[in-house]
């Protein structure tokens, strides 16, 4: 992984995005981004899995990179199409490299959030609190990636429409990809560690609302 490039990615997202668009250093950006995405998600996953401990650390560390990279793969065509229909008919390599750069920025922010999540767990936070902290870390990482995408689009009309449309698709796909590979923290109330759950628990949005309710009014405790 090219540390200088990662530094540029964090400090000057507009420059990196312009390089991707104009076919400068695309290969270097792509390869470094892939490593950063995998590493950031792996360590964040391990921290999240430490709530249950044991094999769950390895399971979550394995699954989060799959979710992140899988979501990127599924959303690259959408990004290519959305940018094209809103007036930026780039080449596919340009769209792919910008997506990878945004994914790398996402993972680097996740990496920065990892100690916070780990400390929250270490201080004995309950399941729902840890879930919300992890979700907030994801949201923060998403904002980091959004910054690069927004810069990557450059000036000109259609920028807001492109971002809104793509983020909506990305949230649907990313949320579902994460949901089908759950659990990451472990199943509350159960000691056994499972790679996947087969329980029907409603949707992702439903579960986030339940957790928020648990944190705001614990007396209604479900768990």
């Amino acid at each position: 992984m090219n540390v200088a490039l990662m530094n540029r990615l964090l400090r000057s997202p507009a420059d990196v995005a312009r390089d991707c668009r104009e076919d400068r250093d695309r290969r270097a950006v792509a390869s470094s981004a892939l490593v950063a995405i995998a590493l950031g998600a792996l360590l964040f996953g391990a921290a999240v899995g430490s709530w249950r401990g044991g094999a769950q650390i390895a399971f979550a560390a394995l699954k989060l990179p799959i979710v992140t990279l899988g979501t990127l793969v599924l959303c690259v065509p959408a990004f290519y199409a959305v940018t094209a229909v809103f007036g930026r008919p780039w080449s596919l390599p340009a769209a792919v490299s910008i997506m990878l750069a945004a994914g790398a920025r996402f993972s680097l922010v996740l990496l920065a959030s990892t100690p916070v999540v780990w400390l929250t767990i270490n201080l004995g936070a309950p399941y729902d609190a840890v879930k919300l902290v992890a979700s907030l870390a994801y949201a923060l990482a998403g904002l980091g990636a959004l910054g690069l995408l927004s810069h990557g689009l450059g000036e000109g009309p259609g920028r807001i429409a492109t971002v809104v449309t793509f983020v909506t698709i990305f949230l649907f796909v990313g949320g579902q990809a994460a949901w089908i590979l759950r659990p990451y923290l472990g199943t509350p109330g159960r000691d056994e560690v499972t790679l996947f759950t087969r329980e029907h628990e409603g949707g992702l949005a439903h579960q986030l609302l339940v957790s928020l309710g648990e944190v705001l009014s614990p007396s209604r405790g479900r768990r």
Partner: protein, 218 residues
């Protein structure tokens, strides 16, 4: 929040309609990308090219339909692959010819090639968006526990693609109509919204009939 919608540059020097959007930035000297070739066009217009563009749009939309059909599997994949482009085809084959007759009655300075070109480019825009969303839609269709999520996602994307196509079509027509007299412009101002409303209702109706699996999912 106001969401701005932009269009790729139109072909050729066309007179600007008073309320038409500002022209997009000048294209670079790089060779055109695949998307640029199909969404914007790079050479003189011809019936063959417009026909190919429309066919490509239908093919791209069918990928989205096939993704939706994965929820039920089997024949639903094929039938939904035909259903998704059916709405676009219906507008191109039924609504646009009717609109061209209305414009001809008003002696509007828009020829059939203009309409065909605007139609195929609008369809390409919708088709490309649907094809781009197809991999994500396939994931949701196959893995969502609640069918209502798939219905909302599927219908939402179809309607949004239709909206983008309508936006593109309207901009092309308005941009080509700048030189008309006040009376002719008034006809377009009346006929265009009516056409777009009719096209929207027609497309939704066709999707409703041609994508039963999407409606049953909820």
């Amino acid at each position: 929040m106001t969401v701005e919608i932009a269009s790729p540059p139109l072909i050729g020097p066309t007179p600007a309609f008073p309320s038409a959007p500002a022209p997009a930035p000048a294209p670079s000297t790089d060779p055109p990308t695949w998307a640029q070739r199909w969404l914007v066009g790079t050479g003189p217009r011809s019936w063959t090219d417009e026909g190919r563009r429309l066919l490509l749009a239908l093919g791209l939309a069918s990928l989205f339909g096939a993704a939706l059909g994965l929820r039920q599997g089997g024949l639903a994949i094929a039938s939904d692959a035909l259903g998704a482009p059916a709405g676009i085809l219906a507008v191109a084959a039924v609504a646009v010819p009717a609109f061209s007759i209305i414009l001809a009655l008003a002696n509007a300075p828009i020829d059939v090639m203009d309409l065909a070109s605007a139609t195929s480019r609008a369809a390409a825009r919708a088709g490309l968006l649907l094809a781009g969303a197809a991999p994500g839609a396939a994931l949701l269709a196959v893995t969502c526990e609640e069918g209502s999520t798939v219905t909302v996602m599927g219908l939402g994307l179809l309607l949004f693609a239709g909206l983008l196509a309508a936006d593109r079509f309207a901009r092309e027509i308005l941009a080509r109509f700048g030189g008309g007299s006040q009376g002719k412009r008034s006809v377009v101002w009346l006929a265009l919204p009516a056409f777009l409303a009719f096209a929207a209702i027609l497309a939704v109706r066709v999707w409703w009939l041609a994508l039963p699996s999407l409606m049953e999912a909820s």
